[in-house]
C-alpha cells in the first residue's frame, strides 16, 4: 500500500482525447518526495528544451503535495508546473484551497496534461470516472462563474474546480488558474491551460487516503496545532503587525498597512510614499475594508483565516474571494488612495484570471509609456484621464488582446520590445522577463541580492521568510527573538542567533556584513524550507514564509516519515530539498538560463557595489556546487543522484557553453518575428484555435 500519496497519476492527452492511469514509481517519492519535486522530474524527462510553451508537447501538471489530504493542518496545496510562455523557463505556481485534497480523495496524486484540444473542454474527475467534457458554453465566462456553472451542470455542489477566465483562453502571458479563494497565478500557467483548450478541471473524491504510522502522525499533528494557537496568541514583538503573525500576511483581517504602503513602491515600481499612512488614510481604509470583507475564510483543514469573501455594496451581487496582497497591488500600481477601487478591480481581474502581481505593473508601465509619449492616443483610443479608469480600460484591452493590449498581454519585458520606440528603458522591474514585487530600497542587502538573483521561482516571496525584514534596533527585542527559536537548523543555532543579536550594531551593517558564508547559510536555509513545502503541499504560510512557523526543519522530517513510512531525518530531508532545487536549476539551465540572467533590477537598491556583487555571486555558485555560469557541476549532480542530468548536459555540450537548441519564444507556429503577434487581434472571446 502507498501512504500519504495514492501512487496513481492521471495522464490526459487532449489531442487524442485519451485518459490513462499510471502507477507512479515509489522510488521517486524517496528521491523527490512529491509535488514540485516529482513535477520537476517529469518535466525534465519529458519536456526537452526546444519544446515551446505553446506546443502540444509542453506538459501542464497539476500535482497535490505529498501530504495534501492527510490530517496535517494546512496540507492542501496544489502545485501547477509547466514551461512559462513569459520566462520560457519552468513555472511552478502553487495554490491552497480545496482542490488538492479532493484530488487525493479521488485517488490521484497528479493530473498530467499534454496535447491540445481542438475545442474548449473541461475535465471531470469523479473518483474512477474521468471524462473530457465539452466547454464551448463556458467560453469567455469568468473563472468563478465557470466553477459555479460546472458544479450546477454536474449536480455536484462538493466538486472542487480549478478554472481559467478569458485571459487564460486568450493566452495572456500572466493568466492565472483560479479556484475561488485561491489561485495559481505566476508564470502564465493559465495561458498554457488556455492554449491546451482546457477551461477547467473539476474533481470530486470519496476514497480514503492512508498514512503509515497513524498514532505518531497524529501526535505530531497535535503539537503543530498547539503551536499555531500559541503563535496566534503571541505575535512577534518589534516587527510590523502584518509580519508578526503566521499564515499568509493577514491582509484581510489586519487594517494596519503602513508597512506595505510605505516600504513598497507605487506606480510602476517608482515612488516611495513614506508619509502615506496618515491617521486620515488609515481611518478611511479601515472603513472601506470593514465594509468589503464579509467573512474571513480558510483553506482546507487550516484554522488560519488568510482569505475573505469580498462583498462590497458597490460591487453589486458578484461576490468574490480574495487573499493577501492583491488588495494593494492595483491600488499602489494605479497611484490612487482609493482602497475601494482596489477591491473593485481585483474582483474583475480575478474573474478574467490574471496575476495580481504582474497585471498592475503591466498597466502602470503602459501609463508610463503614455505619459512619456511612447504610447499615444492612437494606441489607446479614448484613454481616460484618471488612473483608476485607465486601469479598468487597460484590463479590458489586455484580457481581450485588443490593440496595444495584445503586446501588454505578454508582460512588460516582451511588450517593451514589441512596442519599441525606447519602451525598453521602462522595463526596469523584471528579472528573467518576469515582473517583480515593486520594492526599491537604499542599501544593498547581500542575503537579498543572492535570493533575487538565483531563486528559481523568480519571485522573492518564494525564497524568503524565516528572517526579519530589518534589524531590531532594541537589544531587548533581539534577545527576545532568539530566546525561543526552535526553527533553526541543527548546527546553525549559535551563528543564526548571534546574527540576530548583532544585526543593527554600529559595525554590523549592510552590505559587507554578515560575512558571506553566513549569508549563504541564511539563504540556503530559507530556500530549503520552501522546497520542502512545495513538495509536501504544506502551506508556506504555516511553514517557510512567516517568522517562527509551526512547521520547521525539526518536525517536518518525523511528520513526513510518519505519513509516508519512509525513514527521513533532517539531513536526508535537506538533501532531498537540495536535489529538487538543483533539478529545477538544471531544467532552467538546459533552457538557456545563465549567469547574465541572474541579476536584481539595476534600480533595486540605490547603493550598489558591482565588484562585491560579482564576488558574492561567484562564491555563492561555488557554495552551491555550480560553475561560474551557475550550472551545477557534474560532481554536484552525481552526488545527488542526478547523473542523468550531468549526462544530458555533457551530451548537449552545456558545460562547453555550446548554444543548445532552446525555445526562444512562447510559440513560433505561423509566426514571423516577434512573439505572440499572431495572437488574437479579433477581440472578445477570441482564442487561439481557428
Amino acid at each position: 500500500m502507498r501512504y500519504a500519496e495514492t501512487g496513481t497519476n492521471l495522464e490526459i492527452d487532449l489531442s487524442r482525447g485519451s485518459i490513462e492511469r499510471d502507477a507512479s514509481d515509489p522510488r521517486l517519492t524517496e528521491l523527490y518526495l512529491g509535488g514540485l519535486g516529482t513535477n520537476a522530474k517529469i518535466l525534465w524527462d519529458r519536456v526537452p528544451p526546444e519544446v515551446e510553451p505553446f506546443s502540444p508537447d509542453n506538459l501542464l501538471i497539476f500535482s497535490a503535495g505529498l501530504l495534501a489530504g492527510t490530517s496535517a493542518t494546512g496540507a492542501n496545496r496544489t502545485v501547477v508546473s509547466t514551461i512559462s510562455p513569459q520566462t520560457l523557463l519552468m513555472a511552478y505556481s502553487i495554490m491552497g484551497g480545496f482542490w488538492a485534497p479532493e484530488l487525493k480523495f479521488a485517488g490521484y496524486d497528479k493530473v498530467i496534461i499534454r496535447g491540445k484540444s481542438p475545442k474548449l473542454v473541461y475535465l471531470w474527475i469523479n473518483d474512477d470516472d474521468v471524462e473530457i467534457r465539452d466547454a464551448s458554453h463556458l467560453k469567455g465566462k469568468s473563472s468563478l462563474e465557470t466553477a459555479e456553472l460546472i458544479r450546477q451542470e454536474l449536480k455536484e455542489p462538493k466538486a472542487q474546480v480549478a478554472s481559467i477566465g478569458l485571459a487564460g483562453e486568450n493566452r495572456v502571458y500572466y493568466a492565472s488558474i483560479e479556484q475561488g479563494r485561491s489561485s495559481a497565478s505566476r508564470g502564465g500557467i493559465g495561458a498554457v491551460m488556455g492554449d491546451k483548450g482546457l477551461k477547467a478541471i473539476a474533481v470530486r473524491g470519496k476514497k480514503d487516503l492512508n498514512v503509515a504510522r497513524p498514532e505518531e502522525f497524529m501526535n505530531l499533528g497535535k503539537e503543530v496545532l498547539k503551536y499555531i494557537e500559541f503563535r496566534r496568541d503571541n505575535p512577534i514583538n518589534g516587527v510590523p503587525p502584518i509580519l508578526a503573525g503566521i499564515g499568509s500576511p493577514q491582509e484581510m483581517s489586519i487594517h494596519d498597512e503602513e508597512w506595505h504602503t510605505t516600504s513598497f513602491s507605487w506606480g510602476h515600481a517608482r515612488h516611495r510614499r513614506k508619509d502615506f499612512w496618515t491617521k486620515e488614510n488609515a481611518r478611511k481604509w479601515k472603513k472601506v475594508q470593514d465594509k468589503a470583507v464579509e467573512r474571513l475564510i480558510s483553506c482546507y483543514n487550516c484554522p488560519m483565516e488568510c482569505g475573505a469573501v469580498i462583498a462590497h455594496p458597490s460591487l453589486g451581487l458578484s461576490k468574490y474571494m480574495m487573499k493577501c496582497y492583491s488588495k494593494l497591488t492595483y491600488v499602489m500600481g494605479a497611484m490612487t488612495d482609493d482602497l475601494e477601487f482596489g477591491f473593485k478591480i481585483a474582483g474583475d481581474a480575478q474573474g478574467y484570471g490574471v496575476d495580481g502581481y504582474t497585471t498592475p505593473q503591466a498597466m502602470a508601465f503602459a501609463i508610463e509609456l503614455y505619459e512619456n509619449g511612447i504610447l499615444t492616443d492612437k494606441d489607446l483610443p479614448g484613454f481616460p484621464s484618471k488612473n483608476e479608469e485607465r486601469f479598468f480600460y487597460l484590463l479590458e484591452k489586455i484580457v481581450r488582446r485588443e490593440g496595444v493590449g495584445d503586446a501588454l498581454a505578454n508582460g512588460v519585458y516582451w511588450a517593451a520590445r514589441q512596442i519599441g520606440k525606447g519602451a525598453e528603458a521602462y522595463d526596469h522591474n523584471t528579472i528573467k522577463k518576469q515582473e517583480q514585487i515593486p520594492i526599491k530600497l537604499g542599501m544593498l542587502n547581500p542575503v537579498y541580492y543572492i535570493m533575487w538573483s538565483t531563486g528559481e521561482k523568480i519571485n522573492i516571496t518564494q525564497i524568503e521568510g524565516q528572517l526579519p525584514q530589518a534589524p531590531f534596533m532594541e537589544r531587548a527585542l533581539r534577545e527576545e527573538f532568539v530566546r525561543d527559536w526552535p526553527q533553526v537548523p541543527t548546527g546553525k543555532e549559535e551563528r543564526f542567533k548571534q546574527f540576530i543579536l548583532d544585526w543593527g550594531d554600529e559595525d554590523k551593517r549592510l552590505p559587507f556584513w554578515p560575512p558571506v558564508d553566513l549569508v549563504f547559510d541564511l539563504v540556503e536555509w530559507q530556500e530549503t524550507m520552501h522546497y520542502i513545502d512545495d513538495a509536501t503541499g504544506i502551506c508556506a504560510g504555516l511553514s517557510s514564509f512567516p517568522l517562527k512557523p509551526p512547521y520547521h526543519i525539526h518536525n517536518l522530517p518525523p511528520i513526513i516519515s510518519a505519513a509516508t513510512g519512509l525513514d527521513i531525518d533532517e539531513a536526508k530531508l535537506w538533501e532531498i530539498a537540495r536535489r529538487n532545487r538543483t533539478l529545477l536549476r538544471a531544467i532552467n539551465v538546459r533552457r538557456g538560463m545563465r549567469r547574465k540572467d541572474e541579476r536584481p533590477p539595476d534600480d533595486h537598491w540605490k547603493k550598489r557595489f558591482p565588484e562585491f556583487e560579482e564576488k558574492l555571486q561567484d562564491d555563492y555558485y561555488k557554495f552551491k556546487g555550480w560553475n561560474d555560469e551557475g550550472i551545477p557541476t557534474k560532481e554536484t549532480l552525481d552526488e545527488l543522484g542526478l547523473d542523468y542530468v550531468s549526462q544530458d548536459f555533457e551530451k548537449r555540450g552545456v558545460y562547453e557553453g555550446k548554444e543548445s537548441k532552446v525555445a526562444k519564444k512562447a510559440s513560433s507556429e505561423g509566426e514571423k518575428e516577434k512573439p505572440a503577434k499572431k495572437s488574437s487581434k479579433k477581440g472578445k472571446g477570441q482564442s487561439k484555435k481557428q
Binding site: 492512508n210 498514512v211 483565516e305 469573501v309
Partner: protein, 174 residues
C-alpha cells in the same frame, strides 16, 4: 438525572475549513488515525461562501424515509437549503453514509476516548465554531446503541430480520 453532551455550533465563527471533517474521519478510521476521507466523517460543513452559508452539521439518527414536505429557513436574509440544519442520515441526500457500504453514520461524541476529553472536531476547531458542553437533565441514563448495532439495525430495517440473520449464519458458517 442524566448527562447530556452538547456540541454547540456557532455558524458565525465557521470559516469553512473542514478540519472537523478531516479529523473526524481520521479518528473513526480503523486502525485509528490511519486514513482521512471526509466522506466518512460524521460532521460535514454545508459551505457556500458566495451565499455566506457555513453550517457544520453533525450526523444524527438514521431515518428510512424522507420528510413529507420540507422547510426553508431564511435567517438574516440568507435562505438555507431545505435540509440545512437536519442531522439525519436520510434517503433524500448523500450525507452521513459509509461510502463503501451505504450504512448510516452517526456521531458518537468520540466516546471511544477517555470521557473527559472533548470530541475531536471540537478540539480541532480552534476558532471555536464548535464548542463542547455537558449539562444535567431530568431523565434516565440510557444505554447507547453501539456502532455495530446502528449498522445492523439499519440492515434489519432494509432487508428484514430473517434475511439478515440467515445471511449472517451463512457467512459465519465457513
Amino acid at each position: 438525572m442524566k448527562t447530556v453532551k452538547l456540541i454547540k455550533v456557532d455558524v458565525d465563527k465557521c470559516n469553512g475549513c473542514r478540519a472537523c471533517e478531516a479529523i473526524c474521519s481520521a479518528f473513526h478510521a480503523v486502525p485509528k488515525y490511519s486514513s482521512t476521507n471526509p466522506e466518512r466523517s460524521r460532521i460535514r460543513v454545508l459551505f457556500d461562501p458566495l451565499r455566506d452559508i457555513y453550517v457544520p452539521v453533525i450526523a444524527g439518527e438514521y431515518t428510512e424515509a424522507e420528510c413529507n414536505g420540507r422547510n426553508v429557513y431564511t435567517i438574516d436574509e440568507k435562505e438555507y437549503d431545505e435540509c440545512a440544519f437536519c442531522r439525519a442520515s436520510c434517503p433524500s441526500r448523500d450525507l452521513f453514509k459509509e461510502p463503501d457500504s451505504g450504512l448510516p453514520l452517526k456521531c458518537d461524541m468520540c466516546e471511544e476516548k477517555s470521557p473527559e476529553e472533548e470530541p475531536l472536531c471540537v478540539q480541532w476547531c480552534i476558532n471555536d465554531a464548535l464548542t463542547y458542553e455537558e449539562k444535567e437533565e431530568e431523565g434516565e441514563e440510557e444505554e447507547k446503541p453501539r456502532e455495530m448495532e446502528i449498522g445492523l439495525e439499519s440492515l434489519v430495517r432494509k432487508y428484514g430480520a430473517k434475511t439478515v440473520s440467515d445471511t449472517l449464519a451463512r457467512i459465519t458458517k465457513g
